[in-house]
Amino acid sequence: MEEFFNNIKESFKDTELEFETINIKVDSTEWIEAHKKLRDEFNLKFFSWLSAVDWDNDVSVGEAPKESVSPCFEIISCLSDLANTNLITISTTIDKSDPKISSLVEIYGGANWHEREAYEMFGINFENHPNLEKLYLPDGYEGNPMLKSFELISREVKPWPGEVDVEGMPEETESDESADG
């Protein structure tokens, strides 16, 4: 993995190896070129997944980031090679006011459904996508459910009971029965 990481780092400056995951950061304008390069030069032909993250300080679901972040969408895709030993994630950030990025469908056919999912869940427009329609959500559904500003209605109606104390271990009794019986 170290060797592969060093090779990647030569081509992509902003690369980190964190918790056994290689993450490359690219500018959104280089999104397509970076994927082409990784597919053709580094032999990363297996398209694993693509998704997005909504970075925002003002959240209505879950916990807000502890340190202030600049609001943006982060788009992440994950690629691995034929033998599946090398794996990388590539990420880029795009502006929230005009969320759009080029589609990867031309390079990886498998990006099609993943981009449709990100489109309906986050409202990100994938340019040149052949069929940018809703994937899961019914027709006429309004809103993008995975946004941090999108409320989880059931939680609003009935708050979570919260942390319940964990029961202790059962009391001591002697037993010699073992699994080998």
Binding site: E18, F19, E20, T21, N23, K45, F46, F47, S48, W49, S51, V53, D54, V61, G62, E63, P65, K66, I76, C78, L82, A83, N84, T85, L87, T89, Y108, G109, G110, N112, W113, L135, Y136, L137, P138, P145, M146, F150, L152, R155, W160, E163, M169, P170, E172, T173, E174, S175, E177, S178, A179, D180, G181
Partner: protein, 398 residues
Amino acid sequence: MVNALDPQNMNSFSEASVSVEIETEDMTLNIGPQHPSTHGVLRLVAKVDGEKVHDVKPVLGYMHRGYEKLAEVRSYPQITTLVNRIDWVAGFSNEIPFIAGAERLMEIEVPERAKHIRLILNEMARISSHFVFNGAYALEVGALTPIFYAMEDRERVLDLIESVTGGRFHPNFNRIGGVKPAAGAGPTSKKNIQDLPAGFYRDTKVAMEKVIEAADQFQNLIGGNEVFKKRTKNVGVLTAETAEAYGVSGPILRASGVKSDLRTQTDYLPYDQFDYDIPTGENGDCYDRWDVRVKEMVESAKIVLQAIDSMPSGPLQAKVPKVIKVPKGRTYVRAENPKGEMGYYIISDGGLGPYRLKVRTASFSNISILPIMLEGALLPDLIAIMGSLDFVLGDVDR
């Protein structure tokens, strides 16, 4: 009057019939979401021209439960109950990559014994999933008998999973840092907690030998069947190149000739300690996909038998804080699940729950190839091709 049967007049008639072309209108065929062959609630909208199918559009979302959103309002230990329900045919396997991801971020070293117990149950989940496939697939291509054998044999494996975890489909057995003491362990002492129920090794040996026997039986009962061969050989051929670009993984990818198995290539569980083969196919057709899974059952049974013989002793749990907080960071952990690559991309902000949890499921990518595989296929082959992908809608929609 002209006699049509007179050989002298035959030529003129046959010529006339050849030159006429009948315009047929495409019919739109709606399959599902309640059709039994759709493994849940997949809906396909296909155009049918005579017997040929084209323009297939899968319609998803009937089983969408929004787990990625729900995970954002839950703590890490609570999420294991959610992920159990993603691929319910192999519930145990779903927990592994998530737990492994949280452990990696927390830098916890899991005790060897806990890892072995996870590995054994993970392989049992694979066997039970492949039993379901074997029975269901034979049923879909017209053989009624195998499903009864498959369900009976699967029951033996599910009983074992139940005896350890207390659950047949949703074990919820993994804890961050190890596994919980077994449900069937009986009275426990604080010094020496029983993890496996009495007689577990003996019952497992019997069950695994039965699995190997059953796989042999399937090879004869299903694989040796002329009708089954006719329906599956050279049907729905998938090339390795297409499979990779679409992220198709697991037995489907291996049936197309790619020797790729995350069990050997990553270290989420100690698979490198055991000796087993990775079955691959040659043609990438429906028959190969079936064949690879049957052979995999045997390999899984072999792994379980080896793991039982080399079971280390020791604690079940690493030392973990009482309130689990995962440090800031992000990681992607993937695992070889019965249906292919399953992984969790965890973005932690140092809180009680993840800031974002991306769930990568095998079936989602596996069936995204359906429109390509079904283009121009015959209508009866549609079910044969769809069934050979072995998907579960919980694993597609999440």
